[in-house]
């Protein structure tokens, strides 16, 4: 498999605080890589490192196969665009002038494609309106537009839907999907809104305390998040015997509860449990989501 970005035991220390602690992750080419973690888990720090804004304390990464210590990394970076935390835009300039500025920074010979980018992000009708008068969503889209100048094939978006209204969230989601599907742009996206991320991502990386807890593809996650029935019973040992006999997948949660991954005839199940002197106290159909998967991985508690 081709990878756009691979990090190897990446560490970043700010005085006594270890923001990244041996982080290793792999972003496959063509993926929308959802980067999930609590506040302070190290998401933005990682993005700052791969964007070259900061240097790792130890460890390293490769971008398109080029090591971060290699001089060629500057050329590799030319193929990426990024929106780190807040959109990097000149507030006293129009959307068009902001894009022109980025064309100059990249040294592009003409402003060809500028209108197309503005259309793509839905800012083609902003005219002489300055960015300081834009809504949060418009600024976010302008930030993405700037990141798209120079036709990058790797886009890094740090919390792109933070603070947006529902309509803004939908617009950004559709834009990312469009860029990924139509222009084959690989996207690394960090987000707190797990439900939103689940509608986009093809791959996930779960980060906690500065290192990756789990990397998983959307297919694998879907399999892991199977529909299940949560049973509360008086005796889980009896339940285990019955489910084993019925060849049903299950997971014991506590000494009274278990998740059962199959649709079964409830009458048969309760009858079988009754023979084992086990009572069924409650039964609830559950659909494990990205959020519950995340919570089971990192323990929940604070904000995701």
């Amino acid at each position: 498999m081709d990878y756009v970005l691979r990090t190897n035991a990446l560490c970043k220390r700010y005085k006594d605080y270890k923001a990244l602690n041996g982080l290793s992750m792999n972003v496959p080419k063509g993926a929308i890589y959802g980067f999930v973690g609590k506040n302070g888990a190290g998401k933005t720090t990682l993005i700052r490192l791969i964007c070259g804004l900061q240097e790792p304390t130890s460890g390293g990464y490769t971008l398109y196969g080029t090591k971060n210590t290699d001089k060629e990394i500057l050329k590799a970076r030319r193929r990426m665009g990024a929106v780190v935390e807040t959109p990097s835009i000149y507030l006293d300039m129009t959307a068009e002038d902001n894009l022109k500025q980025q064309y100059r920074i990249l040294g592009l010979p003409s402003f060809d494609g500028l209108t197309d980018i503005l259309k793509l992000v839905g800012l083609d009708n902003t005219g002489k309106k300055k960015a300081k008068n834009f809504s949060l969503g418009m600024r976010q889209r302008l930030g993405i537009a700037i990141a798209l100048v120079g036709a990058p094939d790797f886009l890094v978006l740090d919390e792109p839907v933070n603070g947006l209204d529902p309509q803004g969230i939908i617009e950004i989601r559709e834009l990312i999907l469009k860029l990924n599907r139509e222009q084959q742009i690989t996207v690394l996206i960090s987000s707190h809104i797990l439900d939103e991320l689940s509608k986009l991502a093809t791959n996930y990386g779960f980060i906690d305390n500065g290192h990756i807890v789990k990397e998983i593809s959307a297919e694998e996650l879907e399999a892991a998040c199977r529909k299940c029935v949560r049973l509360e019973v008086s005796d889980t040992k009896a339940l285990v015997r019955v489910l084993d006999r019925m060849q049903i997948d299950y997971k014991i949660i506590t000494d009274k509860t278990a998740d059962m991954y199959a649709k079964v005839n409830i009458s048969h199940l309760t009858a079988a449990l009754s023979k084992e002197n086990c009572e069924v106290i409650s039964m609830q159909e559950r659909d494990e989501s990205l959020e519950s998967y995340y919570v089971s991985l990192v323990g929940g508690g604070r904000n995701a």
Partner: protein, 276 residues
Amino acid sequence: MRKLLSADFSRLWKDKIFWLCMGAMLIYSVLYMLNGCRQATIDLTEYNYSIDKYYFHFAISIGIFCSLFSSMFFGTEYSDGTIRNKVVVGHTKTNIYLASLITTITATLLMMLVWLVGALVAIPTLGVWEMGIPNLFVYLLIAIMFVMALSAICTLVNMVSANKAVTVAISIFLILGLLVFSSMIYNALSEPEMTSGVLITANGMEAAEPAPNPNFVSGIMRTVYEFIVDFLPTGQGLKMSQLEVSRPVLMIVSSVTITFLTTFGGIVVFKKKDLR
């Protein structure tokens, strides 16, 4: 680097603060020179006025304009986060720093040029430079070099400090501080060696015997003071405005040294700086 300069200059030509500084320099220059013309006309019989006396007055204030403009202009790169756009697409921090320095030098030299052109308004009244063209060029060369040194100092502050308000404050106070410090040293050097007071006697007022001035700086301290004034760009500005340039080579070498050291130090710090 060329790409960064193109981006910085295209922003410069549209920058309000830059044009405000240019306008202020022009108005300041014309008004100051016209005031000089008026004084010269009134006092014509007593003093021999020439354009030289007023032409280099900009040397005192150019540092303030440089610090104000550059801190506002490059502070925006941090406050709007746009400095990230340059790093993300693969520009080195060294090139970003040098492009900022070149832009600051160019903008400050343009402000100086605006003054010099505006000041020509006095020629019909005060005539041309009495110092002669070779001397004029020496003065202008010194001015260009200390503008570079001032720009290098301001660029160091602008690129190392990430908070726009703090950058503006530090930059302006630093240049003002240097100006005050240079002026204190310059004033100390201007003290006469001997003073002679006036005695009021029964016969009326009589001049007292000259006595040594306790504030006169002599010996090694005088050498150090003289070096400081000639070394600091603000000190050079003061001497230039008073037409007292005595060691042009030392001044030029000092400016080059300051420019080189601050730029080298600034690049080292900026390269290690964690951008957010």
